[in-house]
Structure formats: C-alpha cells, structure tokens
C-alpha cells in the first residue's frame, strides 16, 4: 500500500519528480517528495520552480532558505492564515517536507500546512492575504 499515489494525476500523467520546473500539474506534495527521493533527489525538495501548480496535502511544508511565493493561493484556511502555520517546538523538522531554493508562481495549495522559523511565520501572517477558495 505504501506506493499508492495520493493524487490520481500522479499515476495518470507522467511527471519527472526531479524536474527543475513543474508547470500546470496537480499533485500531492508527499507524492512528489517520495518520488524525488526514490529518484535520487535527496531528502529536500530543492532548486525547483513551480508554475500554475495545484499542490495538495495532507502535508507540512518546512520552508527553508530562498523560497518565494508569488501570486500563491494558500487555499482554504478558515479565513485565518495562522490556521495553516505551525511553530516547531524543537529544532528539527520531523514530519515536514523540507523545501529550499524554490519559487512558487501562481500556484494553489490545498490542505497544506507550513512551518519554518519565526521570521518566516511572522512574514506570512503579516503579508499573505489568504483566498479561501471553495473549489477544491
């Protein structure tokens, strides 16, 4: 059961899990992470450009250095950006999917949580205007 993709699109449409640019797809972040690891991409999603993608959870994204969100719809959050944010109580990101040196442009997140350092969390709270989108 552990190789079952969460998003049917991953199974039906070929996707290179190590592609540096992903454009227009709909996929689970966990599926991408596992596929990337299995393809030798390491334990961090790194150096990618995501354009016009719908990225699904359930998953927690650990935002590391040089990650930018441009025109990103963070998805349904009950009207409060804080509802998708988590502060680590320790100094490791167990359970989260690390993302570094990535750009998300015109993407949409569904049931994704985000964690990172306090600076990042505060920046997201202050700057993101969440669009609660009823169309999943």
């Amino acid at each position: 059961m552990t190789d079952q993709p969460m998003s049917p699109d991953v199974a039906s449409r070929p996707m290179d899990p190590r592609a540096t640019e992903l454009r227009g797809g709909r996929f689970g972040l966990v599926d991408l992470y596992r596929a990337s690891m299995q393809a030798g991409g390491g334990a961090v999603i790194e150096g990618r450009t995501f354009v016009d993608c719908t990225i699904e959870g359930p998953a927690l994204m650990l935002v590391l250095e040089n990650v930018s969100f441009d025109r990103t719809n963070f998805g349904p959050t009950g009207g409060n950006m804080r509802n998708m944010l988590f502060r680590p109580m320790g100094d490791m990101g167990i359970g989260a999917i690390p993302v570094r040196n990535c750009t998300f442009t015109n993407c949409r997140f569904l049931t994704l949580g985000i964690t990172g350092n306090d600076e990042l969390l505060n920046m997201l709270i202050e700057q993101v205007t969440t669009v609660d989108d009823s169309q999943n």
Binding site: Q4, G28, L60, T77, R82, L85, G90, I94, G95, G113
Partner: protein
C-alpha cells in the same frame, strides 16, 4: 441493495475498504494515504481505529484529537521529544491529519510529528520519553 463498490475504480474501492477497517495489525500504514482515503469518503478525520504492532509512516503531522491513546509506542527517532511536536498558531488546523478515538498499541512512528492543544503537547512531551524508553526495554520491534 446496490453494491456501490461495483461502480468504483479498483483504487477507489481499495480506499473505501481501508476506510471501513477498524483494526490494523502488524503492518505498515502510510498515514497520508489513510487520510486521503478518508477524505475521499467524506470523513475529514480518522476515527475509531486500533493499530497494534504497526509502523505508522509519514511524512505527516498527526493532530491528536479526543480519545486517541498511545500504549507502549515508540513515537519516533528524536533525542529531544520536542522535535516531534508542533504548536499550531491558529485555532483550526490545516495540513495535519486528525485522529480521534484511535488507539495505538506498541506502534512505531516514522517521520510523523504531532500537534494539538497546549495541554496535549505538554502531555505528549512528557509521555514520549517514557514510551520510547519502555519500547526499547521491550525490544523495540514493531512490524
């Protein structure tokens, strides 16, 4: 009575069968798939299941809800139990997998973090070290 599974794809039927199960024993459970199968069946939380001698795999964050218990479990590889815990910043939780009235017996968690109320996080923090220690003394071998 109509057999609804006859109209489903094999993957969907397998997902519904997983949702219908109330016990899991000596098997690996990929938590994100278990959650998505529940969501696809219209259930936004996983409730009323017993996991015995299982490996519960992430990466995932479990929102520990009412009635969920851990008995003799190894909660994950972390020298500091706080590394397994996340504090939600809002009053709702997006991105985590809600589990209510579930029982974990002698399970081992891999790449799973936990979140919930402040009281729950404090309880987990004190319980994780004791649980991991007991599991190690017992030989540590979940499925």
């Amino acid at each position: 009575m109509t057999d609804e599974t006859a109209k489903m794809s094999p993957a969907e039927a397998a997902g519904r069968a997983m949702v219908a199960r109330t016990s899991f024993e000596k098997e690996a459970v990929w938590l994100p798939v278990l959650a998505v199968n529940h969501w696809n069946a219209g259930e936004m939380a996983i409730t009323g299941k017993t996991f015995t001698d299982c490996v519960i795999e992430g990466p995932a964050v479990m929102a520990v809800m009412n009635g969920t218990t851990f008995d003799g479990c190894n909660m994950g590889a972390a020298a500091n139990p706080r590394n397994l815990l996340l504090k939600p910043l809002g009053d709702k939780i997006v991105g985590a997998i809600g589990m209510a009235d579930c029982r974990f017996v002698r399970c081992r968690f891999a790449q799973v973090a936990f979140t919930g109320s402040d009281d729950l996080l404090a309880e987990l923090e004190s319980g994780i070290t004791a649980g991991n220690s007991a599991m190690e003394k017992a030989g540590g071998g979940a499925a």
